[in-house]
């Protein structure tokens, strides 16, 4: 739930999604769901020379499970807030386990 | 519904208790082997180790110190060094 909420705060930001098959896609995050599936607008493959078959893809949906990394603009991330939320979630998970 | 069905770890509780704080060998599906002092283990086979060493071809290739290993990578855990 933590990362679902986190990605919701990044909607309308420019992100780069690196897939497990090495393809990098840059675009504006338009929506995200609990599986971290994502919808990107104005999307483009970062190295379109290597993957020319994707140059015309502008609006796309990425299944969460094929994602390896998401490169984020650090200006859009409040690290203090994130760390506090992480500690809260860890605490909640621990209490649930008992 | 006893505690054993609720908590996947409690069935192996005695075994885990007996090897906690001792040196264990953790083998991953990738073939990688780690030795370390077992801090703890949970129902996913997530493992935390102290003094963790990574072994390849019988030689220590890396000292990790403390390490957390994600359970889905674990093939088996063996007691003893």
């Amino acid at each position: 739930m933590l990362f679902f909420s986190f990605f919701k705060t990044l909607v309308d930001h420019e992100i780069t999604v690196e897939l497990k098959n090495e393809i990098c896609i840059r675009g504006t995050l338009k929506s995200v769901d609990q599986f971290l599936n994502m919808k990107l607008d104005n999307a483009g493959v970062v190295e379109d020379v290597r993957w020319p078959h994707l140059v015309s893809t502008k609006d796309l949906f990425i299944r969460g499970s094929v994602v390896r990394y998401v490169h984020l603009p650090s200006s859009a991330v409040d690290t203090q807030l994130l760390e506090d939320a992480t500690r809260r979630e860890a605490e909640a998970a621990k209490n649930k386990a008992k | 519904m006893d505690s054993e069905t609720q908590n996947p770890r409690s069935g192996m509780g005695d075994f885990i208790e007996s090897i906690r704080d001792t040196t264990v060998m953790v083998k991953l599906y990738s073939g990688a082997v780690y030795y370390g002092e077992l801090q703890n283990i949970d129902g996913y086979m997530n493992v935390s180790l102290n003094e963790c060493r990574e072994i390849r071809n019988g030689k220590v290739v890396r000292n990790w110190g403390e390490a957390f290993i994600r359970g889905n990578n674990v093939s088996y855990i063996g007691a003893g060094s």
Binding site: L72, S74, L82, E83 | N40, N73
Partner: protein, 96 residues
Amino acid sequence: MADVEVGVATEVPEPLELVRLCVDEVVIVKLRGDRELKGRLHAYDSHLNLVLGDVEETIYIVDDEDEDVESVRTIKKQSEMLFVRGDSVVLVSPTR
């Protein structure tokens, strides 16, 4: 039920506790596919999804035509802020 609890009275931190103690610390993360990350841990969850800051990624490329003479090339990449999906994670270790 109650005496089961007594049986594990010596409460030991679960493995994820180790990761919790790494928040706001620099960690090394080993990933599937011969990759490694070093960066400051800002967030994690129980799947080991992570957010790292000031990250250096190292990709190991093993050219093992010969079993004995395995030469390893590395590629390094930098990233200011990185989300890592947990299913790629193998190991997390604090740097000291």
